[in-house]
Symmetry: C2
Subunit: 158 residues, 2 copies
Amino acid sequence: MRWTEYDSKVCSVARAVEVIGDRWTVLVLRDLFNGIRRFDEIADHLGVARDLLSRRLAKLADAGIVTRQAYQEPGARTRYEYRLTQAGAELRPVLLALAQWGDHYLAGPEGPPTGVRHENCGAPVHLSVSCEAGHNINDGRLLRMIPLPAARRRGAHS
Amino acid sequence: MRWTEYDSKVCSVARAVEVIGDRWTVLVLRDLFNGIRRFDEIADHLGVARDLLSRRLAKLADAGIVTRQAYQEPGARTRYEYRLTQAGAELRPVLLALAQWGDHYLAGPEGPPTGVRHENCGAPVHLSVSCEAGHNINDGRLLRMIPLPAARRRGAHS
């Protein structure tokens, strides 16, 4: 059966981009990974409208990706900061994959603006693809997507 | 220096999502990876408006991620199909990372709808994070983003 016969929405990629498939959302996640947690600081850093940021963060909270915590500085009103949950922390490979691709294809003559290092040893970090039999897979043509029992054929409308 | 002091746009993640940080674009890439190449088939499979798809594909072509090729079936007018370039093929880890996260956090009781297998041996494929010193890194808290010479401080406006 060809992939066109499967329901495009019954797919982990489609479900994931339904939640985080938005430019601003990815940048919010990046800032959270870099330790920027306060609403005001994220808004200022991204240069994004506060109501848009508020909607994006509410969606991330609904999806269980961030939690919101109130904080208050002396003499100021209550404000909010955000932290990644375990589910949020596990989005790190998505950002690493984007960074790795951007480093390779979109860096200028000076090279990539940032790097990722292993805290324990300082060595550069990269993502790799391997299989459970222990093979490293550098050639994407050796990856095969297969349908599992939860896949769905498209409805009669198609 | 805190990350808030660096220019949010001078960043490989920001540059990458400028090109592919859109829900439909990611689904187009997914279909291309699954061998669906013809404009008409992609439009039908995604259920997306043809003008929107056309704009997304033109942007991917401008970014060097796909190439467009004409084809013609007997008696029909010229139509187009799209293929991933090398730069496009190297976006595979982004989709694998999204799929892996969606498999874990967004699958229903039946489990993930699709799996990725190594063509040569049939074993399930996954992404992993490691450093050049050979350590596997399972704990994202051990990743540290560092600025490199191409990083830019934010302008005086901030």
